[in-house]
Subunit: 127 residues, 2 copies
DNA sequence: CCGAATCCACAACGATACTG
DNA sequence: CAGTATCGTTGTGGATTCGG
């Protein structure tokens, strides 16, 4: 549960609501079309910007940068700029990022496992 | 991985790309601000519409209905209408829904565990 | 109490062009 | 190659209202 059922001292309560609102913010950052896919795409490797763009079908240059910035800001990915020419920028998951990736993988597994259920559910949804 | 690295026969490939595009669709349905929170809120209980709206802070009437419809369409929740007056509509998770909830719980745990990491990462992001 | 439809503000996104 | 900025379009989500 993200929302907590807690009733403690004023101080504890204030801390928890602050933490809770941050949690919601993180959740919002992750609950978008691309963030989880990017995390999955980086995996345990080191990925170049252009590799990610090629790998994640349908993502635009802009969205990739934007999401990578957000992930970097939250400390989920490390960004390494090689001062060469042409530039070479590499992204890797941090420890929190790798931890999150495990649960993302769980969601991917879930998707594949229940694809059939979902298809039949959809067909029956004309009732 | 949602995107597959598979190279099989033409038929298999066609099936996989179709399955893959469906997977992406499911993913999109889930990767929004509310879907995962709703799944978490229903939990193992049976929840009324108004209970959910009260419980999920900040969600609007419209978004709740809309997301519940999508979840129902994908077979993640069951919708039970009691023909009383006033109406009483209850939602419960289906088996796939409960399975997904496990991984959602994983994400919630992750959020709480790494809240500290994220806060410090954000503070260091002025460099 | 619950759901659907309308209206509208605003954020998200893609395309493009420009910089280092 | 990678990033930023701008612009026009699309879509998302909230408030409201009406209907069962």
């Amino acid at each position: 549960m993200v929302t907590k059922p807690f009733t403690g001292s004023p101080k504890d309560e204030a801390d928890l609501t602050r933490a809770d609102s941050l949690a919601r913010e993180i959740f919002s950052d992750l609950a978008n079309k691309w963030a989880l896919l990017i995390i999955d795409a980086i995996g345990n490797d080191t990925r170049r910007f252009s590799e990610l763009r090629d790998e994640i079908e349908g993502i635009s240059h802009k969205m990739l940068t934007q999401n990578l910035r957000t992930l970097e800001r939250n400390g989920l990915v490390d960004r390494c700029v090689h001062p060469t020419v042409p530039p070479r920028v590499e992204y890797t998951l941090t420890e929190p990022g790798r931890a999150l990736r495990v649960t993302v993988a769980g969601m991917c597994d879930w998707t594949h496992r229940y694809l059939g259920h979902i298809e039949t559910a959809r067909r029956g949804f004309g009732a």
